[in-house]
Amino acid sequence: MATTTVRGTIAKQKLIWMYETMVLIRRFEEQARREQDSGRLRGTHSAIGQEAVPVGICAHLRDDDFVLGNHRSHHHCIAKGVDVNEMMAELLGKVTGTNRGKGGTMHIADMNKGMLGANGVVGSNIPVATGVGLSARVRKTDQVSVVFFGDGAAQQGSLHESLNLAAIWKLPVLFVCENNRYAESTPFEYSVAGGSVANRAAGYGIPGVTVDGQSVLDMYEVGGEAVRRARAGEGPTLIEAQTYRYFGHYGADNPLGYRTKEEQEFYMAKDCIARMRKHLVENKFATEAELSGIDKKCTDAIVAATKFGVDSPFPKLDELTTDVYIKYP
């Protein structure tokens, strides 16, 4: 799908950023699982396996562009530049967290970084992202709005209403479906009529693209064109990224209850980080040693983030009733 011409023009710095960001996400998610196992954290939706999807897209975004996520959103946040210290503190319910401990794993938000929030209600953020696109258009900026949602969410009416709105108004929105093949235990092929999410774009007269979501370079290429279109006022794009979640849906859910080991191995063999690493070494963008250095840097960052989170205080108890409304001086 991706052409070597485009790939060949990606700056080395960008390639390294994509690799490093994927590794940082993975280390973060591994630590989140450890925190969950130790009981300090009561459960998360792991993004391990899906790192390439937001990284390839966010590589084209600026701080003033917006990303909106779903319940499985740590990778969206990190790809958009949200601080891992503050994220880990948030997961641990601490006042130093992105949301002062009030939102937790499913609601991480950081307006300074253009992260307009993860969201626990499936499909709920898709219209919001459409409104962000509307805002950019009316305010005459060239900002872009990107919403990530799952294959399960693609069955909500909210997607269809939003695609139509964004199409008739030519809004700068990227609708990015992370098709990881399951919604909880329900397989994609059962719940998605027509067998494709991307195909639905045709009904709204907008581009619909299916892409290997385990290839960050493919994601980068598809994202580049969609972001270009959006900034140029040409309207929305629907992207279906084929990906896979390596772990269960949430917490300790065991995915072998609804999928085979062979299937898992098939997808894990196409791991986004391993493939990028190979690409970088084979094309001499980096040596194994340099990449190991990056890996170590990411591990250290997550160790530091965990320490920051653990050492941080819980919110003061009166925060229970603050932030319900805006406080006027």
């Binding site: 009030k102 709920s124 909500q156 329900t186 059962y190 229970l320």
Partner: protein, 347 residues
């Protein structure tokens, strides 16, 4: 009773989840028009080797798919407006659908179907259509799920004429209320508190034979003379704990387990208050325009003359449910707070 020769009193200790699971199977057995739908109510849909991979997010529907098959037990895509609306249409035309709205906060996705269709069709059509629809949904804070997955929202539903709402507090009444809900020809919402489904309160004797508990009737869960504590679902459990503590301090608390949020058993509440002359209403819902406020108004209007103290509402704050455990712990009216509130009206 104590002799070794006498067969043990048939005690069937069931958890809340087991009791719900049993009643679903019994009602499906009894009435072939009962169908069950929802996300992952079976799980692993369409894959033979993984039949019934989940059995429902809280395992309430486990075993139904294997027993009753794919025609009557349906996994749905994530499309609440679609499948709850489909439940309305199916109910209007001869089925008795039981539909899972996984968490009550997801009402936002499908409110039109419930509030504008399910609740109103019987009335709008001059009584010419029946809507035997049951919607069950998980409620409550306490497990770190934050603002969108932890509400109770009783009042939102109870506000709408045409909907019946029940909130079981233990395995025994869960079974009886669910049976009543399924057999009822009006739409009924069944609120299942996550902490009760998670095992708080423990197992309890639940008869095997099907039985119903009438919708619209409260239960005196504990008799007492000094103060009335009204609980709803999980807060009933906390009220009972608080009553134990109050007894240790020399006060006799009566606990009314509301069970039905709508219609509400006004008489049971008034009867108790006429005896105790004091009332604390314990509700995990948001305080404004709440069930507790409604009960408080009822008592003020109908039993003002007998009251020794103003009716006291003990509720969640007017705030969304926080994630941080230290804040979330403050959200639910705890046993300690109930004791404190009761002592407040007693002294």
């Amino acid at each position: 009773m104590t002799t070794a020769t006498k067969p043990q009193q048939a005690t069937r200790r069931l958890t809340y989840v087991q009791a719900m699971n049993e009643v679903l199977a019994q009602e499906m057995e009894r009435d072939p028009t009962v169908i069950v739908m929802g996300e992952d109510v079976a799980g692993g849909a369409g894959r033979k080797q993984f039949d019934e991979a989940w059995g429902g997010p809280f395992k309430l529907t486990q075993g139904l798919y294997k027993k009753f098959g794919p025609e009557r037990v349906r996994d749905t895509p994530i499309a609440e407006a679609g499948f709850i609306g489909a439940g309305v249409g199916a109910a209007a035309t001869g089925l008795r659908p039981v539909v899972d709205l996984m968490f009550v906060g997801f009402i936002g996705v499908c409110a039109d179907q419930i509030f504008n269709n399910a609740a109103k069709m019987h009335y709008m059509f001059g009584g010419k259509v029946k809507l035997p629809l049951t919607i069950f949904t998980a409620t409550g804070a306490g497990v770190g799920s934050a603002a969108q997955h932890s509400e109770t929202l009783y009042a939102l539903f109870a506000h709408i004429p045409g909907l019946k709402c029940v909130a079981p507090s233990n395995p025994y009444n869960a079974k009886g209320l669910m049976a009543a809900a399924i057999r009822d020809d009006d739409p009924v919402i069944v609120f299942n508190h996550k902490l009760l489904m998670g095992g708080v309160g423990g197992g309890q004797h639940v008869p095997k034979e099907p039985y119903t508990i009438p919708i619209g009737k409260a239960n005196v869960a504990r008799e007492g003379t000094d103060v009335t504590l009204v609980g709803i679902s999980y807060t009933t459990y906390n009220c009972l704990q608080a009553a134990d503590e109050l007894a240790r301090q020399g006060y006799s608390a009566e606990v009314i387990d509301l069970l039905s949020v709508s219609p509400m058993d006004d008489e049971a509440i008034l009867n108790s208050v006429r005896k105790t002359k004091k009332i604390v209403i314990v509700d995990e819902d948001y305080p404004r325009c709440s069930v507790a406020s409604d009960i408080s108004a009822l008592v003020a209007e109908e039993a003002f003359d007998v009251l020794d103290a103003p009716p006291k509402r003990l509720m969640a704050p007017h705030a969304s449910v926080p994630y941080s455990p230290v804040l979330e712990d403050l959200f639910i009216p705890s046993k300690e707070k109930i004791v404190e509130a009761a002592l407040g009206v007693l002294q």
